[in-house]
Symmetry: C2
Subunit: 91 residues, 2 copies
DNA sequence: CGAACATATCGAAGTATTTCGATGTTTCTA
DNA sequence: TAGAAACATCGAAATACTTCGATATGTTCG
């Protein structure tokens, strides 16, 4: 994993609301609809949309279109790759 | 590991210069002096001092005073804790 | 088709981060 | 003890991030 990617993922993880989204994603069996997020994140719709976009761009979550809804699932593979990078920091 | 700590560590990892410092730290057998950093990070002394402070505040590196020099070592334990948190995100 | 719903995008305001030059503090050494 | 060396701190400028209201786009359903 190259430095740019590590930076992007780290940035995506560096916000309390986005961490909250990821945590709830796990609770909900790795499946979350955009509308669900309003219930536990106290932000307006455009802000939530923005945060979901950053998580998507970092490939930490994978969006799927279902009619007029968006379904998000956690990308376990990307977390694994990120963890692998962190392990290489250790000697 | 609480959310605030995760956020702090993620922020510390979300910068190319700080990632560079961590990478070089591993190369140098987890031991780095402040002056060493000038050689691979193209920033002024105050900026490097600032970045080292953020890494220290996140407890990713541990500073030791040696006379008028500062020695930095990687904090493997904190990386492990951070990795543990990331693993809990997966289901 | 038209209204309602779900989400995305745009532009702007507020806030945080990065970077620097100038200067302060501590420690070593001649 | 004076000067240099290593690092920290301060204040300001530039840049980036977060958030919002307004509005646009795509989808469903009556």
């Amino acid at each position: 994993m190259d430095a740019k990617k590590v930076e992007k993922i780290s940035k995506a993880l560096a916000d309390p609301n986005r961490l909250l989204i990821l945590k709830e994603l796990r609770k909900n069996k790795n499946c979350l609809y955009c509308t669900d997020v309003y219930e536990f994140v106290d932000l307006t719709q455009p802000s939530i949309s923005h945060h979901l976009k950053l998580l998507t761009d970092a490939e930490l979550i994978i969006p799927t279109k279902e009619g007029r809804n968006m379904k998000y699932t956690l990308n376990n593979k990307m977390i694994d790759q990120y963890v692998n990078f962190l392990q290489t920091l250790k000697s």
